[in-house]
Amino acid sequence: MNESPPGRLLPWALVTPALLWTLVFFVLPFIAMAALSFLEHGGGQATFDNYRQFLDNPSYWRAMVNSLEVTLTVTAISVLLAYPFAWILAEVVPQRLQRLALVLAILPFWTSYVVRSYSWLLVLAQNGVVNRALVGSGLVDAPLQLANTRAATIIGFVHFFVMLLTLTIFANLKQLSPSYRRAAADLGAGPLRTFLHVILPLTLPGIMVGAFLTFVLAIGDYITPQILGGNNELLMPQLIMMQIGRRGDFPLASALAIILMLVVTLAYLLCARWLKIERA
């Protein structure tokens, strides 16, 4: 639209600060990181060694496989737990209580990330509440090793993403016009068939977006696996932080970070077909 311009420069004056900020503190660092990933640690020579190390060293490979396994498991479990929950909040809970029920359901969302993981450590500790309950009820004889396991990492992640997905799926379900449901019922579909043939397909694009968000956020997270999983097995973010923290090997850390980003981009391209439905 040829909106009458109050001056040619004004629009640029408005958008330039944000663009500049993004360029200097986001794009430039990324370029620096990418450049560094092709340099030797300590020396200044150009090399592919950092990428080759990832391919050659099975323990690095393993970290990527662990990351993918954990993240995909977390995504699947979170969606499966959150969908029925969101459905109950949107369809079963009476209208006037819905807002309250939703606010309650995502209240712990607001605990700090570090504190949330620590809380799970408390719950899952050798003599924490879960083990006390299990032993006390006679279900197990001795406390189980729950903390510092992959299971603990997965539980910590699922806790966060169930809340996030409940929120997004709830919003999705509420957006559906009630007339869809009425129309389906009118045409003779029972509740189950209405759900399978009408509600589920209509909310699927929203679920895909939520699942992708879960995948992206979980695969890049350092805190949850570091606090809950311990160092028994490493995930990619832990491996990257290790290169920075213990060894000061920024070039290798950069290469690993870029590989991680490539994997996320690949995941995006694989999901793009479903993610696009949302935008249309």
Partner: protein, 261 residues
């Protein structure tokens, strides 16, 4: 009979999920009132001794102060930059607008770890020392796209006409901005500010990488974790949770105000 079973099943499921969601928070808060030195059953409280310890700990209180300061300033800057950019893109025809808007929202897709690392590498190369300011800059990087996206999405056609009306009635651009656009978009501005506050307040990895001696609360809590399970961590964690709830409620109010409009 079937209906009753179904209702029971639904209630049981909802309660189980609520239980799962609240379990860690309840345990955290409950054992922050523990009287003895281990935050594990049995509960020996209630006692406020760990809160007293925590509030007397100058490292923690100064970290808390730092966190609030970084959150306030970085969010204010993120909202200001985001608002101006959103206004520019929504109201004027700029070449390659889609591409540039994509650039501003790009940081949303990259993990905080990688953003923080990239900034650390750049700052190291440029000789900029690690500091709270560096962490604050990082927080603007992650919150700017969010503020931009929220405010941009609220700049509908209706607002376009409202601003046109103001211009038509003789308002110069800066008056359109301060007398019309900002007040009309106030709920979105308010919401994005408080959302930024919460994100900055909770952010760990960027602060961890970019600060050195003076640091933010999440990093200080992280340092506490080295001592294992400790009621002090429960106490400070509960405090942080309390503050976040206040943010969340303010946010909720902002949206409620908007939906009443």
């Amino acid at each position: 009979m079937m209906r009753l079973a179904g209702k029971l099943l639904v209630s049981a499921y909802a309660l189980a999920i609520y239980g799962f969601i609240f379990l860690p928070v309840v345990v955290l808060v409950l054992f922050s009132f523990q009287a003895t030195s281990f935050p594990i059953p049995p509960f020996t409280g209630p006692s406020l001794r760990w809160y007293e310890t925590v509030l007397a700990d100058t490292r923690l209180t100064s970290a808390l102060f730092n966190s609030v300061l970084v959150a306030l300033l970085s969010s204010a800057l993120a909202v200001a930059l985001g608002f101006l950019a959103a206004w520019g893109f929504a109201r004027h025809h700029l070449p390659r607008s889609g591409l540039l808007r994509g650039l501003i929202t790009l940081p949303l897709t990259v993990s905080y770890l990688i953003i923080g690392m990239g900034m650390l590498i750049l700052f190291n190369a440029a000789g900029i020392p690690r500091s709270l300011v560096a962490a604050g800059i990082g927080h603007v990087v992650i919150n700017l796209p969010l503020c931009f996206a929220i405010i941009y999405s609220q700049m509908g056609d209706h607002q376009v006409n409202i601003e046109r009306a103001a211009r038509d009635l003789g308002a110069p651009e800066w008056k359109v901005l301060f007398l019309v656009s900002v007040p009309v978009l106030w709920p979105a501005i308010f919401a994005s500010f408080f959302l930024s506050m919460t994100f900055s307040w909770d952010e760990f990895v960027i602060s961890f990488l970019l600060t050195r001696f003076d640091t933010t609360l999440p990093v200080e809590i992280w340092n506490l974790l080295r001592s294992g399970l400790n009621p002090r961590t429960n106490a400070i964690g509960s405090l942080v949770f309390g503050v976040s709830i206040v943010f969340a409620l303010l946010l909720e109010l902002a949206f409620l105000r908007r939906s009443r409009r």
